[in-house]
Each structure stands twice: as structure tokens, then as C-alpha cells.
Symmetry: C2
Subunit: 667 residues, 2 copies
Amino acid sequence: MTAREKHDRMANAIRFLSMDAVEAANSGHPGLPMGAADIATVLFSRFMSFDPIHPHWPDRDRFVLSAGHGSMLLYSLLYLLGYEDMTIDEIRNFRQLGSKTAGHPEYGHATGIETTTGPLGQGLANAVGMAIAERKLADEYGSDLVDHHTYVLAGDGCLMEGISQEAIALAGHLKLNKLIVLWDDNGISIDGAVSLSDSTDQQARFEASGWETVGVDGHDPDAIAAAIERARSSDKPTMIACKTTIGYGAPTRAGTSKAHGSPLGPEEIIGARKALGWTSEPFEIPSEVLDDWRVVGLTAGKKRVAWQERLDAADATVRGEFERRMRGDLPAGFESAMAKYKKQLADDQPKVATRKSSEMALEVINGALSETIGGSADLTGSNNTRTAQTAPITPDDFSGRYLHYGIREHGMAAAMNGIALHGGLIPYGGTFLVFSDYARPAMRLASLMGIRSIFVMTHDSIGLGEDGPTHQPVEHLAALRAIPNHMVYRPADAMETAECWELALADTGSPSTLALTRQNLPALRTEFDKDNRCAYGAYEIASAADDAVVSIFASGSEVEIAVQAKSALEANGHPTRVVSVPCLDLFAKQSEDYRNAIIGDAPVKIAVEAGIRQPWDALLGYDGIFVGMNSFGASGPYQKLYAHFGITAEAVTAAAESRLHDHAGRK
Amino acid sequence: MTAREKHDRMANAIRFLSMDAVEAANSGHPGLPMGAADIATVLFSRFMSFDPIHPHWPDRDRFVLSAGHGSMLLYSLLYLLGYEDMTIDEIRNFRQLGSKTAGHPEYGHATGIETTTGPLGQGLANAVGMAIAERKLADEYGSDLVDHHTYVLAGDGCLMEGISQEAIALAGHLKLNKLIVLWDDNGISIDGAVSLSDSTDQQARFEASGWETVGVDGHDPDAIAAAIERARSSDKPTMIACKTTIGYGAPTRAGTSKAHGSPLGPEEIIGARKALGWTSEPFEIPSEVLDDWRVVGLTAGKKRVAWQERLDAADATVRGEFERRMRGDLPAGFESAMAKYKKQLADDQPKVATRKSSEMALEVINGALSETIGGSADLTGSNNTRTAQTAPITPDDFSGRYLHYGIREHGMAAAMNGIALHGGLIPYGGTFLVFSDYARPAMRLASLMGIRSIFVMTHDSIGLGEDGPTHQPVEHLAALRAIPNHMVYRPADAMETAECWELALADTGSPSTLALTRQNLPALRTEFDKDNRCAYGAYEIASAADDAVVSIFASGSEVEIAVQAKSALEANGHPTRVVSVPCLDLFAKQSEDYRNAIIGDAPVKIAVEAGIRQPWDALLGYDGIFVGMNSFGASGPYQKLYAHFGITAEAVTAAAESRLHDHAGRK
């Protein structure tokens, strides 16, 4: 048997598992796995470092299927290579409820799935983050412990999405030469030929951003291998354009959009079996072919053994720290450093913007943690994301801890996800809260995957002032809170900001957004408390002088307003309590008793937030009053905007008194 | 006086107005207007067709300041050129509440502002839409009536945002040769030199997508003019890279990021006055310089007179239709065509997915309206956005009415905004609802501008099935409803779909999103009604057999479930009414009486929607029950998903009965 024959039958194993699974599910995408089977076979059988028995081995190569609809390519590989949890039954249950083989690869469903993909372009940008993480950790720990590649299989859709440009430009700039993108250049998209909507010379485009590129026949194993070899020795990231036929092997659908996203049907599959000489039953892989694949899996694992020996031989402190960071645990000294800082805050009672108190917290955090890696989408001085410890990373020097992500919010968020997925680092990155819209698809995926990406979103309301409505978030707190498993924090002062940072860093199962002000805020929490009060999501920050007749709920910059209104109301004889609500998501997770106690039974309830009412309705019920926004903002000095939109202590006081008056009248 | 001297003082007028306005506001961005003043002066004084007295002249050239932070460049131009509403007082009131001179250019605040910009990259993509509209209308009406250019001034930020790639690739593909982008290549971003985060060869990048490019000294008027001349005769879109100095003229800040986003300060301005030989008082333009500019404005207007003569000479029907379309009115026959279609629906009672009934409605709409221009981000067959009337537009033939936007949701939405802003066409475009996240920044701007972009968002819930959670919207209805002035429609059957389309088309002040199912739904509205019931946002679709003890509120595909639950509840002796809620946004606009009547006083209230609860809290109060999603979805056949997540008639019935039981127990 020639090497080519062996290759072909290994590749065909992917093709037929994919065809069979899609057919059984009566749903799915056979075209990509069939077209890219040769690429994947070459990559995994000749290049990839990984270990099916130790799938989380930190120094494994990363493989990202950016074209996530081709999930059966990945599932087939994992099964064939011997990943234990990817059984043939899972393949048979493709796209069924409860299976590990979801329609698109879901991170956490099965080992070997490095990231959740499907929304196009995300995987490519995740991979940039993974390659950044590799380079950064290699700089810290040396190539003995960290030396691996990141491979991406991307489709036309990935390259058409705008996020791809952000990713490509960032990778090219940073000279991420261990990032290798294999473009499945099949010339087909859902509507038909790619030429219906695109005429871009993709190789020229990548080259314009500092990439190496090479074009090959995506069905010629040796050509693919030569291209990967060349890519691995380049000092730039490389894009390999692999000319392929979508649905390769299908007699009438190959090379057409009909092969893309639906089962081929029995007749077409019979034709493919004939064309490719495949005689096994559906879901059956000839034992000699399975052996070929399993040998690949076993052989690849040998590198891990050598690596483990190097790790074992390393300095115990280095090893301990490396292992801690890869586990994602926070270091021992962190808690006490934060406690010391919070005691200092209680003494100093600084009147600063929460973006500034975030920077102050980060000075402590970045001092106590070596694994944080900061950045901003070109708003460093505004987001206050850089601290004394974080020198910029440059293309030729990765000793820094700060990334100038450029004006690329979406690429930043997706790269942060890649950094978090890689492990060993905790990424945080900043932009204006309003531009969370640009980053939203990646923020959603962070939430779906449950990874620790921390988004520092400053200028969190009309409080940003003169830049006007295009820059003023109004609906963004609501829209981010709406994402499942996304923690939105909006601290009211420096103490709450410190607490929210603690919560975000400790949360290994959810991404967090910190919504922070541009404008200064007074210290409201002026005593040190060992208990992290923000952990409850909402808590009484100022109790009423007597049995409360008014409860005011507020977050962030509006807690100050609530406290002022309380004073005015109590001066007028209306006992009033104030509840600070730094995190509605956490509040919703508290016990019913706690929630009821916090909501309280004061006859008048008011929520104050310089955003829309929607997230507060649950707390306010029918009767509650909302003081906030119900339109876009405007351009002007922020104090005037607060007055213009009626978000003032006077407005809160007046609304409460009017309602108290109504109640009295009714009695 | 030489031509150059005249140019310089005209350009300096922009520079000093900008410096003075930013200084007075103590906020703003002087750097771009100072750096790009030469480009703008050349463009407006030598090339632009426009008429300050008739600013809405349909055949004017469009100028888009994509780098919206440089708003003072535009405001200065409008003032200098004699646009009536841009007075010197407005310039003096830059960035003040209520002025026309907001921090970023706001469409509708002053004439001559063609689009709202600030969120980077949007203007560039709007301009692609404007150029598409021009080419399309020129194809329909001939160059006598439609023959103008679209000019864009873009900054580094615009080109770094991913949306720029989508826009560039689409424009290059469509050969939009009347689109000319002037890149303010000043090498500076907020964090410092662009080289901190980017190494892209922008000219090579544009060329890779089929653009002509040329590089010039952005302070050399004749070089700029020659480049624009060349661009105007190209058969491709052109990008002119203009090497400039940010803050040109400022003695110490020019060429640095310090010139970008804050006032220069009195000393720096004194230095600039000295350097540029400017002796007038702040906000004062020497009369001879103002005259030079006003002559430009008057001269440019002459083209409009000739154009008006051509329009007057045109066939009366053509003229009438052209004027109607430019006004944005719907044609006379539309209402009756829809009435006829709805009568037919009442007869046929089709059981189809709402994506299909949207296609059916579009067949009628596209037959009755010549101005609709459809498209999809490469999901044509899934979004059902193409009808018999809409042949594809190709690079060489714009006679069609359908755009293959490619896998570019963001670029599509922003281009649609540009088409809507241009006038004469009504854009609609499709993708999956979950990918509204990709398009969200442009959808927000459509809402802020109040323009008629219609987003056709199919696969609107877990009902899409096997593609899994990456493709299943859960929070998207909430997140879109959260955007002020954005109408979210979720029709329950073919009749409601027709009504929602009527509402979206008639609404010239808001963009609309139609959320549509993949799965089939029965006809629930089986009688023809002249009154558009969806116009109320919510209405009783099934009344209770007796005084209702249960009210069920539902939208879209869940109305069927509500109706089934009603039957079950009434069979058990619990009179139940069902309220269909196709548009919560419209419901919120109804009178309090109407809203109260619709909410009703049944003791048990249940809302059913395959999304999160947040938007329903206002309707449910504390006591209401919600049957919907509180997590991400899953991959599986959709019926199983509905059962798995408990969104079934049985679940609704059980929840209602349990609550009724509690109530009875309490009595």
C-alpha cells in the first residue's frame, strides 16, 4: 500500500463518518468535512502534537475549526484518533439532544474541542488569542514548557466576516509565526459561488497585513504537507490557501452549494461510496483504517511524555506556578493584597471615577497576579486599563503584559476568549460600554463557553457627556444582562469596584463586564468589610431612619443620587432605604428569602439607573417607579444631561413624594 | 493672491473654527479637522456637487465623514458654505445641549449631515450603500436624473474596524466606481502611533479587493485634486491615501496623539495662529475668506438648476414616480394589493413558517413597490428574502433588485442604512436572528437616525433546532427591544406577518426587525380584518369562554402554544384568553386604557416566548408566570428542544392550574 493510498483511506474515513452522521441526523453539513478531509488528515497525521489520553496537556498544538458548521470533521477526527469520550455512539447521535456531537462544536461537550465555533470568523480570532498566549507563556516559561502551534481551518465565511480582518491585522502586526491558517478555498457559499458576492484576492489581502501565504491543491497531501512545513519555519503567520472541492466524492453535488448544508441523500452517498471505493457499512471504519488513525493518536502522545519529563525536572517553584496558572487558580497572596487595599480605601475614601478606581484595583491585582494580560481597543488612557506592571507587548518582545489591540473591539474580545481558552493567562480588555455592541458576538460566545474573559467597559452612561448619543450607552446594560451566564457589574464607588474585580477574577465559569464611569463618584462604602457585599448582587447600602416607606434601588453612578434623595426624603419625614445593586445577575441567584428581604416592603419602590427600565421591571413590579432613560442620549456636559433627562436626586425625591401623596389620598 | 494662498486661507478657516469651537466647548477633537482641512477644501471647492439652499437635492454628491469625531470639519464646512441652519452661533455652541453641533455628526440635526457617524467604520459602510443606491437609481432613471459621487473621509480607526473589510470587499466586488474614499493617513491613534497596533499596507489591502488606490501628500492641494480626478475616471472604487499631519499647524501637538481628542489650550492655539498666519478673533472668519467659501456654495448650486430643468422636462409619470420615491411615500396601489392578499390568506389559511409567509408577503410587496431592494448575508434560501421580482444585482448589471451581500451581516446592515439614507429605495436584508449581534452597531445607528431599514431575521428561537446554541437566539428579542426606536415584530402566522410588513414599510421614522420562524405555524388569524391588528402591538386573539381567570400573552411561534393551552384550560373549566403580542414596542405606545384592557384582570397571567423573561416583566408584574428560556439553547430536533426547555402547552396549562390552585387555597 502506498503512502497515498493509506492517506486516502484515512481521509475517506472522515468523509464517510461525516456523510453517515449527517444522513442519520437528517441535518448537518457534509460539504466541508468531505472537502477538507485531506487537509485535516495531513495536519493531524503528520504535524499535530496532542495526546488523546491527556487531552488537556498544556503544550499541545491547538486546532481550531473556525468553520464550525463542519463539526463532523472534528468529531470524526476525535473518534478516529481515540479520544475516549468521542465514541461511535456519539457520532451516531450527531445533533441529538444530550449528545457530545452538537450541530456546531461546543467547548466543554467533548475533550479536543478547543473552542465553540459556528458564528463565522470567531474561531480565527480565538486562534489569534491562543497564539498570543502561547508566545507570551513561552516568553515566561521558555520553550521547554511552552512551544506549540495554533492551526485554524477557516472557510470563505470566516474570511468574509469583518472580524477576520481585525484578527488578521493583529496577528500580522504581532508576527505570530506559530499561527497557521488553512483556508478551505472551495469557492462555494450558501447562496452559490463565492463569486456572487466576493472578488477578493485573499492571499494578497493577508500579505497586506504581514502574512506569509501559499496556495496549494487541497487534495494533494504532499503539497499540503510541504506548505505546512514552510509555514512552520516562517517568521510570520502563514495562510495556506487550499483549493478544494466542497463535498469531494459526491457524484453530483460535489463542487456545488448543495453539498454544503443538508444531507446528501442515499443515492448520492451510494455514488460517493462507489467513487471513493468505500465498502464498509455506515458508521463502520475498517479496522486497518482505524488502526492507522489510532497509531497517529498514540504516536502524537509521545511528545507529551518528553514534555512531562521536562516539567518534572523544572524548578519546583516554577513548576508549581506554571501548574497553578494552567489550572486557573488565583495565587495565595491575592486575597490578602486585596484586603489590604480595601482597608486603605476605607481610610482614603477617594472621590474618583470608577474607571479610575478600576485602575487602582488593577494596580493591586496586577501586582499580586502574574497571569493577568491587559489591553484596550485603542482607549488605554480612557479605559484606565494599563498599570505600572503592564508594559506593552510588541511584535518583537512579549515580556510585557499589555496589548494594544487597535481599534478592533470585536477582534479584541474574541482574542481574549482565545487567551482564556488557552489557559495560563487571565485576559482583560477595555473599550467604551457603547462599543460592547461591536464585541457582542464574541462576548456571547464567552458566556456560552463559560470562560473567564473580563471586559472593562468604561464611559457607561450619558455621564460621558459631550461625545453624544453615538457614544452613550442606554440599552447596553439591559442587553448585556440579557445574555445568559454573563455577569454585568456596575460598581458605585472604589470599594465596590474592588469587590467586583475580586468577583470577576474568582469566577472561572463566567465572563464578566465591568461597567465603569467616566465621571467622579464619592466614596459611599467607607468601612472595610471582610464580606464581599457585591457578591450578593444587591444589598442595603443605607438603611432607613425608621420603618422605610421608600426603597430606592440604584447601580453605579446613580447610587450617589439615591443616597442624596434619601437624605431629602428623610428630611421631609419619609424614612427611606437605599439598596445598591452592583450586579443584577448575582442578585437573581440569591435565595428567595434574601431577595424578598432586599426588595423589602416599603410601599414606594424606585429604581434609578441611567439606562432603560427593562432589567428593573422584575424588581419594580407594576407599581415601582423608574428614574432613568427611555430614549437615546444627547451631546452636552454631563451634569446638564442628567438634569435634562431627569435623573437627579430632586426627580427621585419628587417622584417618591408624589407617590406617597397618592397612597395617603387613597387611605 | 495665488491659488495656493487662497486655498490655504480657506483651509485655515476650517482649522481655526475647529480649534476655537473645541476650545470653547472644552471638549472635542481638533486633530482631524486641522489635519484634513486641505483634503476637505479641495474636495468641496473643486469637486462636490451640492446646493446649500436645497440641501436635499437628490442628485447631490454625498459626503460622509466616517471619522465622525472630526465633526468640526463638517460643521465648519457647512457654515462656510452657507448652509442656513449652520450659523456661527451653532459653531459657538459646539457640543452643547440642544445645539445642532453635537459631539459627533447627528443625522437630522442639521442639513448637510448625510449620516450619523462616530462609531468607527460605519460611515464607510453607509457610503457603500449610498453608492449602491446611486448606481441602482441611475440604472432605473438614467444619468440625467441620477449621476453623483459618494465621497468618504475615513480615518485609521475606520480602516481597523472589521466592518471596513466587509464594506471594502462588497464595494470592490460591485465595482462601485463612483465611490471615492479619502483616507486621512495621519499615522496616529488614541494610544499613540498606529504602528503600536497595526502594520497593514492599506493600499495593498484595498487593491486585493479590487480597488484603485493612490497615495498623495494630504497637504498638497494639487496632488489631492489630481488623485480625485483620476478616481473619478476609474472603473473601480478608489481609495486615496492622504498622508497628513494630525493637528496640522499646532506647534507642539501636531503629529501626536495629543492633538486628537482634547482642546489644544490657549498657548498652543496662539502658536498655531502664528504658524499659519491667522490674525482674526476666535470664531471670526475674514470676510474675503468667507466670500471665497460662499462663492463655492453658490457655484456648486448651479448644477442643481440644470438638473431641475431636466427633471421638469421628464415624462410626467417618471417624474411623479421619481419624486414619490425620493419622498419615501408608498405608492397608491400598495394598500389594496395587501388587502387582496390578506383576503386570500383568510381563505387559504396556510400552515407555513413565518419566514415563508414573509416571502409570500414580499411577493406582493415587491410587485406593488418598485423601490424595495432585497438581500441577504448569504442565507437567501433560509431567509426567504428573494422573490420573483428580485433578480440579483451583479457588478455589471444593476437592473436587478437583490443583493448578495455575502457573509457580512454588519456590512449589510450599514449598507442598508446608506441605501435608506440616500433615498429612493427601501432596503430589506436577511440573516439569522442570532446574528443580529454581528449587525447590532449598524442596527443601533438606524434606530438613532430613525431610518427605514428593514431587517429580516429568521430562525428566531430554539425552533431552528439542530444547529444548536450558537445559532439559537435566546436573548436577542430582549436585546433588540432594548434599543430605543427600534421596532421588533414577531408575527404568529401569515396574516400577522403581512400586517407586520405593512407596518414596517409604512414606518418612515424607525427601522424594523421582523423575527421569523424556521418551523411551520398554523393560521390563527383566519378572518380578513381591514384594521391592522398588529398596529396595536398586542391584542386579544382568542377571548375567554367566560370571565377569564387566566390571560396568556405570547408572541410568534408561541401563540400556537398559548391557544392550545387555552383549549386545555377551558376544557378543565378555566376560562382563558390569549393575547397575541407581535410588537411590545408598539404596545408600549398605546393609551393606558388600551394597555390596561389588554393586560386585563384575570388573576393568573402567563407570558410565553422562546426567549428570556426580561422584556415581559413589565407586563407580568411580580405575580406573572413566564414560560420561556433562562439559559442558552441546545442542539437537537426542535420539537425535542421545546419539550426539553418546557415551552409547551402542557407546561403552560400546568403552571396556570397550579397557580389557580394556590389562589383557591388562599381563599
